[in-house]
């Protein structure tokens, strides 16, 4: 099929694929590299479909992009997103050797390709329509034995993965009570993270809560967001602090006599209660009045 459309497709997609692949080498963070890889995978799927292999293209998206790359992302998550590495190499000369060998490989294989005539192309347009059935015909015809073997291989792989990541309890299983006791003993935080608080203006996850003083509480935002620098500033009213100072009654003006049962006046007026009290308290109260 010498359609121009395919050529356009190819020439648009191929450079982007190469750039994305280069991104794999040069990306600093692992997640970026993974995203580049996903781009490459999907482009490949498109190319498969363009090459009269629709079944393979869909399988590429489902298996590779959907399963394998997601698996990669999960592992990155398990390992830690900040586990990137610098581009400065620890091995002496590895950088030059790597580039040299890589480019050399390309040159050699290209020279091979140059001698081979890959002209023409019969194509198999008739198989495109019913591609899965056609492939099945070949698969279960000539390649039954490899098919079975690959099945065994997949089972083995799954069991291997289970075995490798399974952690045997060599010690007694730590129960909930033990965990809680350990936590208490180590002085870790027992309570949940602080709620936004009375003075909070926002209750978003990335906005810290405000404590009774009206100050932001750092610990109330998740560590991940903090590490990512995605924490937002808290909005707090400075006046709240002043009111807090002025408004709260001092503990010393409260009525402590048993008989009078008079409740303490809401305002901190000290003179009205001073006459009825003992003279013994008069000095102390007059002393404390100046607080």
């Amino acid at each position: 099929m010498t359609s121009g459309a395919e050529a356009v497709l190819f020439w648009c997609l191929a450079p982007l694929m190469v750039l994305a692949a280069l991104g794999l080498i040069f990306a600093r963070k692992a997640v970026h590299a993974t995203i580049c890889m996903v781009f490459v995978m999907i482009s490949l799927a498109v190319m498969y479909i363009a090459n009269q292999a629709p079944f393979l293209g869909i399988v590429q998206i489902v298996v590779y992009t959907g399963a394998v790359m997601m698996l990669f992302l999960f592992v990155i998550m398990l390992v830690g997103v900040d586990a990137g590495d610098s581009l400065v190499d620890t091995l002496k000369g590895q950088r030059w050797i790597g580039w040299l060998l890589g480019i050399g490989l390309g040159v050699v294989v290209f020279s091979f390709l140059g001698r081979v005539s890959l002209a023409g192309g019969k194509g198999h347009a008739e198989t495109v329509a019913n591609n899965p059935a056609e492939i099945a015909r070949v698969l279960l015809g000539n390649f039954v034995f490899p098919l079975e073997l690959v099945g065994v291989l997949l089972v083995t792989a799954a069991i291997a993965a289970l075995t490798m990541t399974h952690r045997r309890n060599l010690t007694k299983r730590i129960g909930q009570k033990e965990l809680a006791d350990t936590r208490v003993a180590s002085g870790a935080r027992l309570t949940p993270l602080p709620s936004p608080g009375v003075f909070a203006q926002r209750n978003a996850m990335d906005v810290p809560a405000l404590d009774p003083h009206g100050q932001p509480v750092e610990a109330s935002v998740s560590r991940v967001l903090r590490a990512r620098g995605q924490e937002r500033d808290a909005i707090y009213d400075p006046d709240i602090e002043l009111l807090d100072e002025a408004g709260r009654p001092a503990p010393s003006t409260w009525d402590r006599s048993v008989g009078s049962g008079a409740s303490a006046p809401a305002n901190g007026e000290s003179e009205s209660t001073a006459v009825t009290e003992d003279s013994g308290n008069a000095e102390s109260t007059s002393n404390e009045k100046e607080d």
Partner: protein
């Protein structure tokens, strides 16, 4: 449209994948380079299958995909195990076979 272009593209991708294996230290990225190599081989197979008009190429690519998937499973399990015991995913830290 020369179908050989796909093969050239596959070679380029293969080269980039090989360079990734040699140049990056993060084990997961190295592994992704290996995946890139396998995928470029797949592309080449599909292109050859089209050039020769034979579906065998696609079937082989299918097998490669399956095997690659199995390999990814085991490889990532290994990386996770190593991370659990060493707290690092740098391939340079795994050098106990020295000398």
């Amino acid at each position: 449209m020369d179908y050989a272009n796909y093969v050239y593209l596959a070679v380029i991708l293969f080269t980039i994948g090989a360079a990734t294996v040699l140049l990056r230290r993060n084990a997961i990225i190295v592994f992704m380079g290996i995946e890139l190599m396998l995928n470029s081989a797949n592309l080449a197979f599909v292109a050859f299958s089209r050039i020769n008009g034979d579906l065998t190429g696609q079937v082989v690519a299918f097998f490669v995909m399956t095997v690659a998937a199995a390999e990814v499973v085991v490889g990532l399990a290994i990386i996770v195990s190593i991370y659990r015991s060493r707290r690092s995913v740098s391939v340079d830290d795994i050098n106990l076979l020295k000398n």
